[in-house]
Subunit: 664 residues, 2 copies
């Protein structure tokens, strides 16, 4: 018997080649095939089951993570997977684990900040996982402000050791993933003190647990910080706390690539440019941007498929009700998110290229593009993660009541995703960094300095300050040049307005603090411009496959115009467009939604998500939603018995009017 | 020893009488005192502990709910509490329970739709909780559209019974709170069939479980729908599913106030006006609006206190860092939410009055104001719950990383709150209902029909379509009349624009569907106007207490102007204000934030939330945040042992390089 496909009709409606779109989404045919292979490998392996995750106790959940991590390593070895394959496999396991921090933070910290000698000593053990490491920077009282950290590392010249100590409660390390229960080692950030002087924050490798029996070493207090948002989700991770009571480590465990402490206790800065350290930050944030499109695409895939399955109202003559996806209110909320998934995908692709480019430059000691690249990755990290977090919750709402069930997959996806808005730079703090670069760029225009990269448009500021949008009919909004100029003009005018306000302050720092909300808005405008322009650039490429490019053009227009509608106040109040042109945006959006509608299900099929990876009854590929919801319900622990535990003690006395004498 | 108060300095800064503000918030001195008494009663009772709730398994959590419910009933009896006291006590217990549905839905359904005879039979048992009931309306495949329900109730004249049946899987009752495990009875909505005809959806009282041993009766399949969003939160509730296999009930268990089925099986409609049924809906939604200010005030209280405790950046000469609440970015996100809490409080107060008023009118068979009252409660339910859900998450973000810990209280508050956006009318569906009334009102203007109540301003539509905002300096934005006219003009112009677009469609229903997103935006504008205008009206009253009124005036301005800034596109593109006037809004907001800043902590103290009710380490009254975070962390189940469960099987083989041979 053929398997039922409740969405077959939807799939038949598509007017483009889905298989080709899958390759565009994946980035290349190779990436698509490899990724597809890994996804199926994970989906077919019973150890990687995750459908019961939200019902596990915290202890069972951690144990499950430990098991999956070990199993993933085992499979990597057995199948002799490449690094790329192994990382992809791991991403499909889709469960936060100490291993993430070991590979993505602990090892890169040593690679980036260790001397050759240190790298030779530690990295082979780390690569083989003979030691497990985490990255212990933030403290109970100190998050974003690294310079405010309180843990001390005092050099003792008598023994040639550092004494690591947590002087106050607020100096307890707090949050590092993998720290609580799994890690044997950590890269710890602490204030270097030697010869009675404070030399600021430096990194040290410190062993935390015995390699024999895993018990914490003397002077180390370590544990789990407790339950976090949601069930399942990030609770699979042992985010930890860590306190030091005068723990001694040899001098050579300070990571000394950039600064050293000599045998005599003298602090020396090497000639290695500190800017090199930014490379890692750019790399991590670039990965976060790429991952935003994964998370967003999952939510959108679930909401789109279920919106096509679900029917509500509009039955005529006893016929079926209307598919929810046909309602304009649904389309106007869902399709911009679908478009955002593609937009963020291409932005992530471009950032990856940018990272490669800047890495080459850094190797050649060319630091010229670094500030702009730094601002750009910071800004895109901020706006893609904020938008994705909001979008996942919006997708949940778009699924109506059933989106609230854990088995919809959306609650856990939301809970596990939102830390992205806070870690690796709080999103508001990052936008203020972008704003700082923008203000600097605008200030330097007068001196004739030519802005580069994503700020290049500010070089045409005179034109952008006085240009007029030429839209007369709704279709005019489909021209990429028109869209681009509107976004450039808006971003330029908002930056210039902030710069002008700032110039009115005698103390620029006070001014910056005072108008910081306006600066954040200007930074958002700048970052949205980047994403729109990279989407438009992508479409200048040759994109094969029947109808593929047309679909992407529609999505690009939906992305840009829905942003324009959402931020209409910016565009109209800066005079970039007129109210009438704003109304035409709305009209054009309605037409675009009609074009997206028949292709919507195929456009989310192109993400190539397995049912395992989606983890959603509502987002199932076959659309057989209701049968599976009913089956899932039966798995509730409360359905183990007909009569609930507690009936005799707490319900029966009420019904029998014996509550006064009941012992509760 | 005096207890430490880390926030004492903040409290000293306040320039108003907090005790008087508490009375304003509570609504009256009586309400304040009663509420304070109940809050302390709950907080001091160990049975009502909730600090371990997010760590309980689903079964233990339900058992905990059953226990708390029975205990609350017992305390009500022992202390001889009034209905008001008992309800308030229950609200402070702060745990979703089957009892909510019994009292707020099952009993009112019988009261509203039962005949005198039916009320005499069922209500005494229900009041004494000799039976426990729930409200079974929504089905697996049918939520908002009640007319689409599939469960059938077929009259059998032979036996004078109805046969209740679930013909399809999608007709399974799904979601009703209390249905899964606790309820013995339900008011069930089903399609009435008699004499071979379908008479649409009617309500029936049906027994589900044996009163002897609580087992489901023959033909009844009932259970829990499974895990929902978050840990703790709404998982304390046994939302259920229910299927009928030809279950027979006597004819007199159809609720027959409005329509009857005779002994012969004839369907008869009584002369009781169906509009009376709307009264219940208005009542329930009015309560939801009131509760939105409770939930919002809790989130805002937590975020405000912790923003005053938390310091980040800005240390000068080694001194303490800057309190996060001093940053303008923090203020511009937090203070509008603080203002919203007060705004929604007063909107709720006013709605309560409106409900009393309409109840009186209904009793006198005056249905004239009903459509407007209905639209008004629907609209306010929609925008207050949506804003509150978003605000809770925003408050979590405002607490940085620590807001992600369950012990911050914010994750659970969010998870437990968000169903408000979906139940009792999906928020978008409700806004479309509001839009329908607005379109009707605008259409009737031509015929000279005078709009009433909250739509009265549309009677001045000619003026509002051409008026010009007179703001020249930022301070001009402090005039209530200026604010009010801007909001009225915006709402009127958006409604009129929609009405004009609609008139271009030959099929009005198609037009309505096509521009439904614009209609939703017009409805939002209308509802925001209501809240702004009710806040302004409140301030026309005599409000005693040093500085109390001044604070409320500041908050009213913050509320209105932050909305104006957020929806600037609406105001500027409809020509209600100029871009320059929009910029002055921003300037005035900055000044207002400076006025709110020193009073912020006192303004959240005025909510009079106990630490028990807040359930947040970050929101503690004494501000002793870090010590308590550390103590809470130790309670994590993972900290029961130094070495985690799973170490030997899944970590050690990795470290010892024995993964190939490990059995995982």
């Amino acid at each position: 018997m053929e398997p039922l496909d409740y969405l077959a009709e939807e799939r038949n409606k598509a007017s483009f080649d889905v298989e080709e779109m899958k390759i565009v989404w994946a980035g290349s045919r190779h990436a698509y095939e490899m990724s597809d292979r890994m996804a199926r490998l994970v989906a077919s392996d019973p150890v990687f089951r995750k459908d019961n995750r939200t019902m596990l106790s915290r202890k069972d959940l951690l144990k499950d993570t430990l098991r999956k991590t070990a199993h993933a390593v085992k499979r990597t070895v057995e199948l002799n997977l490449s690094e790329e394959e192994s990382m992809t496999l791991w991403s499909y396991v889709d469960q936060p684990s100490y291993a993430n921090l070991h590979w993505a933070m602990f090892i890169p910290a040593i690679e980036g900040q260790g001397t050759e000698e240190q790298k030779q000593k530690w990295l082979p053990m780390a690569y083989k996982m003979q030691i497990i490491g985490c990255y212990a920077q933030t403290e109970l009282g100190h998050g974003s402000n690294v310079q405010g950290l309180e843990t001390t590392a005092t050099f003792d010249p008598e023994t040639d050791e550092f004494v690591i100590h947590s002087p106050k409660l607020t100096s307890s390390k707090w949050w590092p993933g993998g720290l609580g229960k799994a890690s044997t080692h950590a890269v710890v950030y602490a204030r270097l003190r030697t010869n009675g002087q404070d030399y600021g924050v430096q990194a040290f490798i410190i062993q935390l647990r015995s390699l024999d029996d895993h018990s914490p070493l003397p002077g180390i207090t370590v544990g789990d910080v407790g339950m976090k948002f949601g069930s399942g989700a990030y609770n699979s991770m042992d985010n930890g706390f860590l306190r030091f009571d005068h723990v001694r480590i040899p001098r050579n465990q300070m990571l000394m690539r950039v600064s050293q402490v000599t045998r005599e206790g003298k602090y020396v800065r090497s000639d290695v440019p500190r800017q090199l350290l930014y490379g890692t930050m750019v790399s991590v944030r670039q990965i976060i941007v790429s991952e935003s499109s994964c998370a967003l695409s999952r939510a959108v895939c679930i909401a789109t498929r279920y919106s096509a399955v679900r029917r509500q109202f509009g039955s005529q003559n006893g016929g079926p009700e209307t598919q929810v996806i046909n309602y304009k209110t649904q389309q106007s909320r869902l399709f911009p998110l679908l478009a955002s998934a593609y937009a963020f995908r291409f932005a992530g692709e471009w950032l990856k290229w940018l990272y490669t480019d800047v890495t080459k430059r850094l190797k050649a000691n060319d630091f010229s593009t670094l500030p702009e690249v730094h601002a750009c990755t910071a800004g895109l990290k901020s706006i893609t993660t904020s938008a994705t977090a909001d979008a996942i919750e919006e997708c949940r709402k778009l699924c109506g009541g059933h989106g609230y069930l854990s088995c919809s997959g959306l609650p856990e996806l939301f809970a596990v995703y939102i830390p992205n808005c806070t870690f690796e730079g709080d999103n508001i703090v990052l936008l203020l960094q972008v704003a700082r670069i923008l203000m600097k760029t605008v200030a330097q225009l007068a001196s004739g300095k030519k802005p580069v990269g994503t700020t290049a448009y500010l070089g045409r500021v005179e034109h952008l300050m006085q240009c007029h949008c030429e839209v007369r009919r709704a279709e005019d909004w489909l021209k990429p040049s028109v869209i681009l100029e509107a976004f450039e003009a808006r971003a330029a005018r908002m930056s210039v307005a902030c710069a002008q306000t700032l110039s009115g302050f005698s103390n620029p720092e006070e001014g910056f603090a005072d108008i910081s909300s306006d600066l954040v808005e200007a930074a958002v405008a700048h970052c949205q411009l980047i994403i729109v322009s990279k989407f438009i650039e992508k479409l200048k490429q040759d994109i094969p496959g029947k109808g593929v490019k047309t679909q992407l053009e529609n999505l690009c227009n939906v992305y840009a115009l829905s942003l324009l509608h959402k931020h209409l106040g910016d565009f109209v109040s800066t005079g970039c467009i007129t109210p009438e042109q704003g109304a035409l945006v709305n009209e054009q959006l309605r037409s675009l939604y009609s074009l997206v509608r028949p292709n919507a299900v195929a456009l989310v099929d192109a993400f190539n998500h397995t049912d395992h990876y989606l983890g959603s009854v509502l987002g199932r590929y076959d659309g057989n939603v209701y049968q599976k919801l009913y089956e899932e319900a039966w798995k509730s622990p409360l359905n183990d018995t007909d009569v609930p535990d507690g009936y005799r003690e707490y319900i029966r006395p009420l019904l029998k009017q014996q509550i006064r004498t009941a012992r509760l």
